[in-house]
Subunit: 185 residues, 2 copies
DNA sequence: CCTTCTAAGTTTAGTGCTAAAGTCTTCGAG
DNA sequence: CTCGAAGACTTTAGCACTAAACTTAGAAGG
């Protein structure tokens, strides 16, 4: 193959190239908005890959780590029902049944019927699970500190505050204010 | 059931409650870092749900929309191989084979062998696909504008710039600088 | 009581993904 | 020229998820 133009082979666009390309194809695009949204999306994808690798080193999956986090967040004695777990993680109850199966088999949680209301099930963090969570948390917080390394304290504060404002807008969208953000849950 | 303490039923923690709970369980946590990271994660989850609903109204899935976006980003004549698509979307080539099957059946793309190199396949956007992309893009950019409604132009600029700096840190991590961010691709 | 209703989980069928093995084309070396 | 190796998909087996049907326990009414 000796073409004069040696097939360059397409390359993954940088963020700036991406925004420029979208503007070519779609005039009405606000580049400032697109920068925020695209950077958010890319950042999150990269971070999730990184988290996955970190917790994999501890022998758990990202999915399992999410469950551990949710149980710890509920506070001692670290108990929640499968339905509640499913709701908080955005899964169906059916999926949580199987996740809890796997995690119980690995000893990260126990699964028992509630004695006071025998239709309910209680998923409870074991000591092993709590230790795994702690190890994962240490790795995650090191990673996060590293991620924000280039930002000053002031910048971190500003970034956090701006993100929280976006989050508020998306969480309790006020439809009466003409907002287009309908219920998201 | 007339217990004195009417089983409150656990509730989904707000962002502030979440950070406070983590601090109780894990002393070394920097709340400022955690605010940024947790807000990022929540925001992204909500946004993905919202995007999914929007494009579902157009009769396509979030997965299909991602493929349409990638093809449009590649510029005219909107052609890429399944392998390249898979790499950019973080999927295996096998998954892309099936996605392209479905999208070709719906008329969003065509799939043909490259005549110059018959081991290669070319996925090309159809006019129908391009139109779908445009419709989805209009909905998405309206949604994004709405999301950023509460931020001034200056604030949008600052937010974009800060996010881009984080993205740079995570994309070309400089391991020689003592960074802990190892290769993420 | 005995039925009906509702809530909480589980089970089943089907979809979309990954990992690994397989196919087919092209390239390079003897 | 022929064989072997590499590259670019596709196929297969298995897993995790969703939607919808099913099971069972407790609550409400007649």
């Amino acid at each position: 193959m000796s073409e004069s133009t040696e097939e360059p082979g397409p390359h993954e666009p940088s963020l700036d190239e991406q925004i420029a390309a979208y503007q070519r194809e779609f005039r009405d695009l606000d580049p400032q908005v697109e920068q925020v949204v695209s950077a958010l999306g890319r950042l999150n994808r990269r971070m999730n890959v990184a988290y996955g690798r970190q917790v994999a080193a501890l022998g758990i999956s990202n999915a399992e780590w999410e469950v551990l986090k949710t149980l710890v967040l509920s506070g001692a004695p670290y108990r929640l029902g499968p339905g509640e777990l499913a709701k908080r993680l955005g899964l169906t109850p059916a999926a949580m049944t199987h996740r809890v199966d796997r995690m119980a088999a690995e000893g990260l949680v126990t699964r028992d019927r509630d004695e006071n209301n025998r239709v309910r099930v209680i998923v409870e963090l074991t000591d092993v699970g709590r230790t795994k969570w702690l190890e994962a948390m240490r790795m995650a917080s090191d990673f996060e500190e590293d991620l924000l390394q280039d930002l000053s304290g002031d910048e971190r504060g500003v970034l956090g505050e701006l993100l929280v404002r976006l989050l508020r807008r998306v969480e309790h969208a006020q439809p009466d204010a003409g907002g287009r953000l309908t219920d998201l849950d």
